[in-house]
């Protein structure tokens, strides 16, 4: 039992740490203030803790508050199947589906955050998120499953082990890119930030203050950090690499993915959902299906050993 709680603590700490790293990198990219901006996420968190919680006129308080708390919980739960070192907290025969299910549950939570406070901007933000979620769920699902297909297993540690000869990113570049893009879409961040856009005064976040805002913001960055770690595990060979010990390699790869994600994401404007959603349905879904087909043929040809 003691071992279990240590492991849980370790995974929570890893999730929060990765989230903090992502948030810090994001602030640096956003403000252009250099390394000084690295502490800004901590400052924002403290500021939120000092702040009063708000309420609005006639909200659905139960659903609203529950949803705010659910966002970081789901992000940390998705971290449970991400390999830390060469182990995962929760190793089941369906890890990859678990990761996906947590993101699906995030839909419900974010939509409720938009619905709960009974406010126009927040409601519009909630619906934008749902439209985005529906559109990016399938590409994300296919991208994740493609990695499982290559490994012949839905267990993340098996997927990492299957890449000892060749990283999956070589044969699955489309799935890799779609995975990262969909992670950004589910965290409504960067070019997919329309649900929290400035044109709707912050959208789903527009009515949040105090600890609730902190929970939601923390959940977003933890999800992004966990996705970066998952991308490193599923497509970049996890901890494999010369000279250095495995966990160091894995951390380096995760940091690299984070840097690339932040660098690209902050270079782009928000893509309006009515445009981006069509792209997801008409281009990304067929593209990820083709990617899965190619990988399936490679599996039959014995390319993955």
């Amino acid at each position: 039992m003691w071992g279990l709680w240590t492991a849980v603590g370790l995974v929570v700490a890893a999730g929060l740490g990765l989230g903090l790293v992502f948030a810090a990198a994001d602030r640096v990219a956003l403000t252009g203030a250099g390394p000084k901006a690295l502490v800004e996420p901590v400052r924002s968190a403290l500021r939120s803790l000092l702040e009063q919680r708000r309420t609005t006129l006639a909200p659905d308080r139960l659903l609203w508050r529950t949803a705010c708390a659910a966002v970081p919980v789901l992000a940390l739960l998705s971290m449970a199947v991400v390999p830390v070192g060469d182990r995962t907290l929760l190793s089941t025969s369906a890890d990859l589906v678990w990761f996906n299910a947590m993101e699906a549950l995030l839909w419900a939570a974010v939509w409720l955050i938009g619905w709960g406070p009974n406010a126009v901007h927040s409601l519009v933000g909630g619906y934008r998120f749902l439209a985005q979620g529906v559109a990016y769920e399938l590409p994300l699902m296919f991208a994740i499953i493609t990695a499982g297909l290559g490994a012949g297993s839905l267990r993340t540690t098996d997927v990492v082990a299957a890449q000892s000869d060749l990283w999956f990113v070589v044969t699955m570049p489309v799935a890799f890119v779609v995975f990262l893009g969909s992670a950004a879409a589910f965290a409504f961040w960067g070019p997919f930030a329309a649900p929290a856009g400035a044109d709707i005064a912050g959208g789903v976040l527009s009515e949040l203050s105090g600890v609730e805002r902190l929970l939601v913001e923390a959940g977003r960055v933890v999800l992004l950090g966990a996705s970066a770690a998952m991308a490193a595990a599923l497509f970049l060979g996890g901890g494999s690499g010369p000279w250095l010990p495995d966990p160091v390699w894995q951390l380096l790869k995760t940091l690299l993915v984070t840097a690339v994600l932040v660098g690209v994401g902050r270079r782009l404007p928000v893509l309006r959902p009515d445009r981006a959603v069509e792209l997801a349905w008409m281009v990304l879904v067929p593209a990820t299906l083709l990617q899965a087909l190619v990988v399936a043929l490679l599996v039959l040809a014995g390319a993955y050993g």
Binding site: R47, L50, E51, Q52, R54, A58, A119, V120, V270, L271
Partner: protein, 367 residues
């Protein structure tokens, strides 16, 4: 100083600022935003996001009432300050920051809360800057209860743009929103996020005879407009670059003129050359929807045409009025009819609206 106080001071060291530029404070807003950028104090997007509310210029009666309502939605700790145009700006911001920390140190009684204050505002409490709307009738066999809930009136159903009968929500956007001309109020009906029955009006005009006459070069004005568009379009890094360029353009450094021009041209070409932005906003607000072929060379009357126009002017080109860009509120409201909320925000941000110099009475705003 004790540790808690020190932590508190550090945590509030970069407060999020809601800038409210009342008539007469426009040019001064630029200086304020430059100073905020220099200090890395972020701009707040909504009352919930606000620590400091800074009021520039002299708000008229209606705008003052709207600010009051907005203020009632800002969570503690908070501080509101009128910024004097002739004062020392850094000193005023320092004072505001100290006052904010003081507010955090005081254990103030809990604020009345949005509910009571909103409830006292008369029949149309949803006519405020953002939200508190909702309340609808329901179709079919659902049970109907009473005419209002929590003091909010119920809405009806009406046929929508696509011929379905949907619930209609009466909404009002403005007079204070990020990237929105302060004082402008849009009232209309919303179904989903499609606006119909759009009416635009300015809240109380200003008595200031210089009001509306911006003492700046067209180039700097265009850069300001660009910064506003980019904020609404969701491109914060480019918006910050545009604000920096605006600062240099409006400053008087003759020895650095060439450098300033180059920087402005760089910002403009970055925005103009953004394929993602073009893809995202092309065709929005076009008077002939969907008729212009993609990538058309004409500056169509859409948001992308507006962006390109402002980029050209901001880069130092000739200020040619963009084809089909409305200047009056009536033209603008016709253009916004049937558009989505996001599209409407972008269109308004792109427009160069003429502000009335005289006082106008508006009855549509409940604030």
């Amino acid at each position: 100083m004790d540790l808690t106080g020190r932590i508190r001071r550090w945590a509030l060291g970069r407060p999020r600022v809601l800038v409210i530029d009342a008539p007469g404070g426009e040019r001064f807003r630029w200086q304020l935003e430059d100073e905020l950028d220099r200090r890395h104090w972020p701009l707040a997007l909504s009352p919930a996001d606000t620590d400091l509310a800074l009021v520039l210029g002299r708000p008229g009666a209606q705008l003052a009432a709207a600010i009051e309502l907005l203020w009632s939605q800002v969570p503690q700790p908070r501080h509101r300050q009128d910024i004097a145009a002739d004062g020392d700006l850094p000193a005023q911001l320092d004072a505001a920051s100290v006052a904010l920390v003081d507010a955090a140190n005081r254990t103030e009684p809990v604020q009345p809360g949005a509910q009571t204050q909103l409830g006292n505002l008369g029949p149309e409490p949803d006519d405020v800057d953002d939200e508190h709307a909702g309340h609808s009738g329901h179709e079919g066999h659902h049970m109907h209860h009473g005419g209002d809930v929590a003091g909010l009136a119920m809405a009806d159903t009406a046929p929508d743009r696509d011929g379905l009968t949907l619930d209609v929500l009466r909404v009002a956007l403005g007079p204070v929103l990020p990237g929105w001309p302060t004082g402008l109020v849009l009232t209309g009906s919303m179904q989903g996020d499609v606006l119909t029955g759009v009416e635009l009006a300015w809240v109380d005009g200003s008595d200031d005879p210089n009001h509306g006459v911006l003492q700046a070069t067209p180039q700097a004005v265009a850069m300001d407009q660009l910064a506003r568009i980019l904020l609404v379009a969701g491109w914060p890094t480019a918006a910050a670059a545009a604000r920096r360029a605006r600062r240099d353009l409006s400053g008087s450094h003759p020895q650095r003129a060439a450098q300033t021009q180059r920087a402005a041209a760089r910002v403009a070409s970055r925005v103009r050359g953004s394929r993602a932005l073009r893809w995202s906003v092309q065709g929005i607000g076009s008077t002939d929807r969907g008729m212009t072929p993609a990538g058309s060379a004409h500056a169509a009357g859409d948001v992308w045409g507006g962006v390109r126009h402002w980029c050209d002017v901001a880069a130092g080109g000739e200020p040619v009025p963009v084809a089909g860009s409305p200047r009056s509120l009536t033209e603008a409201s016709i253009l916004l009819e049937g558009s989505e909320l996001a599209a409407a925000r972008l269109v308004v941000a792109t427009m160069d609206l003429e502000r009335p110099a005289t006082r106008v009475e508006t009855e549509s705003t409940g604030v």
